[in-house]
């Protein structure tokens, strides 16, 4: 993907290049429907929302809230690239959060607790991946199994009770910052960069999209399609597990009932809204991040302006369709 590093701080700096690009302005708007929506939201908020353009708000509220969805969506994007889908991410978040919290509370210490939680998430991913890659179960159903059962498992770990965790070292995952940048945001950037690099420059990255684009052909070309899918699902679940831990740390309590609820749809929307087709064969981490930022900022804009939930939902639905509509018009040139 081209250099669309639209950080939320960009609008003021965007003036100069805008002049040069003027000719293709319309084309850009279309190509990056979600990015354009993001910029429009930023401008709107800068003008009409009190205290919006403060580093504290941008970094610690907007970006920090968007990062978890963004990270899960990046994993989701890998699965979607293989023409799959992962509905279980929310439940996996709950499992990992519960396991992590339980381990911490039972005194294993920070590192083993985190490792255990991620291991649990990884196992979930391998379960999904095995069903899809080895048994050929349709992804939506394969992951629906853990979507249903996974939350039950997470709840069973503590009979549904909340676990308060206020280990300061652990809380760093949710509340800490590195060089003034919230941990979540740092992780988002790292994960996005890593996936971008892998997708672009490693054989695995090429295999990922080849598998999603035409699986039989990829297999005949020597692509290890099963392993590719397994890795995709495992990565998605592990990232979800990581985010589950971050959420527990942020709230200082693990809540198996609510952690990650609805995350699968948020993540899928983030992937799709920036133009990645759900039919596989494509991956663009930058677009995913933009999609996640846009959707989160949209929610927050509506909240900040006192729009009630039901109206907010209508607006969100409309904007999602509008963004992909605009993008599709751009892709239409091909005839």
């Amino acid at each position: 993907m081209p250099e669309t590093t639209t950080t939320p701080a960009a609008p003021s700096a965007a003036a100069a290049p805008a002049v040069r690009r003027k000719t293709s302005w319309a084309a850009y708007t279309q190509r990056y429907g979600a990015g354009t929506a993001l910029v429009a939201l930023l401008i709107f908020n800068a003008l009409f929302t009190a205290n919006f353009l403060t580093p504290a708000n941008l970094l610690y509220v907007q970006l920090r809230q968007a990062a978890p969805v963004g990270i899960v969506a990046l994993g989701m994007a890998m699965v979607i690239a293989t023409r799959g889908i992962d509905l279980s991410v929310g439940s996996v978040m709950a499992i990992s959060g519960q396991v992590g919290a339980l381990a911490l509370l039972s005194g294993t210490g920070l590192v083993p607790a985190v490792a255990l939680a991620l291991l649990a998430a990884l196992l979930c991913g391998l379960f999904n991946g095995t069903l899809v890659a080895r048994y050929g179960v349709q992804p939506i159903i394969a992951t629906l199994i853990l979507f249903i059962a996974g939350r039950g498992i997470a709840q069973l770990l503590t009979d549904g009770r909340l676990q308060n965790v206020d280990d300061p070292a652990f809380q760093f995952f949710g509340l800490g910052a590195i060089a003034g940048i919230p941990v979540q945001v740092v992780l988002l950037v790292v994960v996005a960069a890593a996936i971008w690099f892998v997708a672009r420059s490693t054989p695995f990255g090429r295999y990922l999209v080849a598998t999603g684009d035409n699986e039989p052909a990829a297999r005949l070309a020597g692509v290890p399609v099963r392993r590719v899918k397994l890795i995709a699902y495992a990565t998605s679940a592990t990232l979800a597990g990581l985010v589950g831990l971050m959420e527990v740390a942020r709230v200082s309590a693990s809540d198996a009932n609510n952690t990650g609820l609805g995350m699968e749809l948020d993540a899928i929307a983030a992937v799709a809204v920036a133009g990645t087709p759900l039919t596989g064969g494509r991956i663009s981490p930058v677009a995913v991040v933009i999609g996640a930022l846009m959707l989160r900022l949209l929610q927050n804009t509506l909240i900040a302006h006192g729009v009630s939930r039901e109206v907010a939902q209508m607006i969100t639905g409309f904007i999602i369709v509008a963004a992909i509509y605009v993008q599709r018009q751009a892709g239409e040139g091909a005839g």
Partner: protein, 513 residues
């Protein structure tokens, strides 16, 4: 462009322009078809034949030009409209619905009804009858995907024939058919012509054009360069016009190196069995040898190829590579042993449609292009450029998605995918399917060249001529069994044909060798 026939043509396309993202595919192309004539349409891969057909039938919208059909100006906006207008089309890639039955594929869109509801009995009966007219006898209530690609092609033909159209267009209908089917098809085409229907026939097999066509339109680079009576043009002239330069007809460099029978086989398979398809196939390929695999449709050639490559696992039988028994679980295992495989159905099993030519070409090579886990882009680019040039792939850039290439050029990319691996053994299932004459010869001589350098080739083709010209040895299959093996001077179209048809009879003859 003057017409010799007195009556106005049935179809008259003039000044047709069409470009894709600024790259022209058709530039001022024109095309006429007279009533009751069989018209050949010919040109190199990527010349614009399929695009012209798609513009006519409403798949694409032309950027400019006029179309007159049956005396009226038309601009069909969908294949459906074209059908209603009296044009039945068989598109280049088999475009049917694999999961649905043969009957449905024939009748979709104009089902037979009774009391307003579908009359399955009648449709099945009619479907059976239609196919019987093409000498195809299958269970029409089975899903299409269960049948060989040839049967699928015949189904597409049956569908087109059942339309009672004024014009039937066939875009490379014979590329996956064998002699017998081709001759059946020709009978049908002649019958159509006799009943006043016009036919457009696209093929890269020149003999076929001479056998059945009345006139020929030659295209080059999106333009119409000539329009002649078939009888007035020699093969030589035809090819020269098509290619655009005076090509001395390349006779096969008869460098069939008398190679050592002693050379150890690269691959050796014995007693392969797989369900109904294979019931005991033995085949061996030595290094430097081109082995042809012949047989009628459904004789088990493709299946043999797939088993050798690890794409399917045999029920029983043994495969040895360098005399060492192997069991390939997945194609990747075979690739590691230096085997490449170009499958028969490029759309389903060959191309990765959205990926660029570059990536498609180097997909199998990636592990070797990797330094410290990272793909070496420069080397990748070098290799891609080398092969694009070497086998003349027509692309606007290496970054073009492969799905935008013409059929023949896609095939070339797939061949290049394996050639760039420097394989020890290439298994090629109908590799020249849909490739134009010029390119075909280039590819054939390339394969020969590589074979002389020690490459082993297993070559499947339904064109006997091709086998005769290229193979050092021909193995003939029938009903999933070896029935004959011909080598050297024994290889002739007649003998292969006899073995395919009667099997055992030839084996006796074989004893003479």
């Amino acid at each position: 462009m003057t017409q010799s026939s007195p009556s106005p043509p049935l179809l008259d396309m003039r000044g047709i322009r069409k470009s894709f993202l600024g790259v022209p595919a058709l530039a001022e192309a024109s095309f006429q078809v007279n009533r009751g004539e069989v018209r050949a349409l010919i040109g190199q891969n990527g010349a614009g034949k399929s695009t012209l057909i798609k513009v006519l039938t409403g798949v694409y919208k032309a950027d400019g030009g006029t179309v007159t059909f049956d005396g009226r100006p038309v601009a069909f906006d969908s294949p459906h409209a074209a059908q209603l207008g009296g044009i039945a089309t068989i598109y280049q890639e088999v475009n049917l619905v694999p999961y649905r039955t043969v009957t449905e594929n024939i009748f979709l869109g104009r089902e037979r009804r009774r009391f307003g509801l579908l009359d399955w009995r009648r449709m099945n009966a009619e479907a059976r009858e239609l196919l019987a007219g093409l000498d195809v006898h299958v269970d029409v209530t089975r899903p299409l995907r269960e049948f060989s690609i040839a049967t699928q092609q015949m189904t597409a033909i049956a569908r087109a024939l059942s339309f009672d159209a004024k014009l039937v267009i066939m875009d490379e209908p014979t590329s996956s058919l064998a002699e017998h089917e081709v001759s059946v098809l020709f009978d049908v085409i002649r019958r159509l012509r006799d009943s006043g229907v016009s036919v457009v026939f696209v093929s890269h097999r020149l003999d076929e054009l001479y056998a059945v066509c009345d006139r020929v339109t030659i295209m080059r680079d999106g333009r119409t360069v000539d329009d002649r009576a078939m009888a007035d043009i020699s093969k030589y002239e035809l090819v020269s016009k098509m290619i655009g330069r005076d090509l001395a007809e390349v006779r096969r460099a008869a460098s069939r190196a008398p190679h050592q029978a002693e050379a150890a086989p690269v691959i050796e398979a014995s007693g392969l069995e797989l369900g109904q398809a294979l019931r005991g196939v033995d085949v061996a390929v030595r290094s430097g040898e081109i082995v042809g695999l012949a047989g009628l449709l459904g004789s088990g050639r493709s299946e043999t190829a797939r088993v050798l490559f690890g794409a399917d696992a045999p029920d029983s039988g043994e495969v040895r590579v360098d005399a060492e028994p192997v069991r390939f679980a997945v194609p990747r295992d075979a690739i590691r042993r230096g085997i490449g495989f170009s499958p028969e159905d490029r759309k389903v099993e060959g191309i990765i449609p959205q990926m660029s030519v570059r990536e498609n070409l180097t997909l199998a090579l990636l592990p070797r292009l990797t330094k410290a886990g990272i793909v070496d882009r420069r080397r990748q680019q070098q290799i891609v450029e080398r092969f694009i040039e070497r086998i003349g792939i027509k692309v606007s850039s290496a970054d073009q998605p492969i799905r935008e290439l013409s059929g023949g050029n896609q095939q070339k990319v797939l061949l290049a995918r394996w050639l760039c691996m420097n394989p020890r053994l290439l298994v090629l299932d109908e590799p020249t399917r849909g490739i134009d004459v010029g390119a075909k010869q280039e590819i054939q001589s390339l394969i020969r060249e590589l074979a002389d350098d020690g490459l082993g080739v297993l070559f499947i083709s339904s064109e006997l001529e091709e086998l005769v010209e290229n193979a050092d040895r021909v193995v003939v299959l029938r009903d999933g069994r070896n029935v004959a093996e011909l080598r050297g001077d024994q290889i002739s179209e007649e003998r292969i044909m006899a073995a395919m048809a009667h099997g055992a009879a030839v084996e006796a003859e074989d004893g003479a060798r």
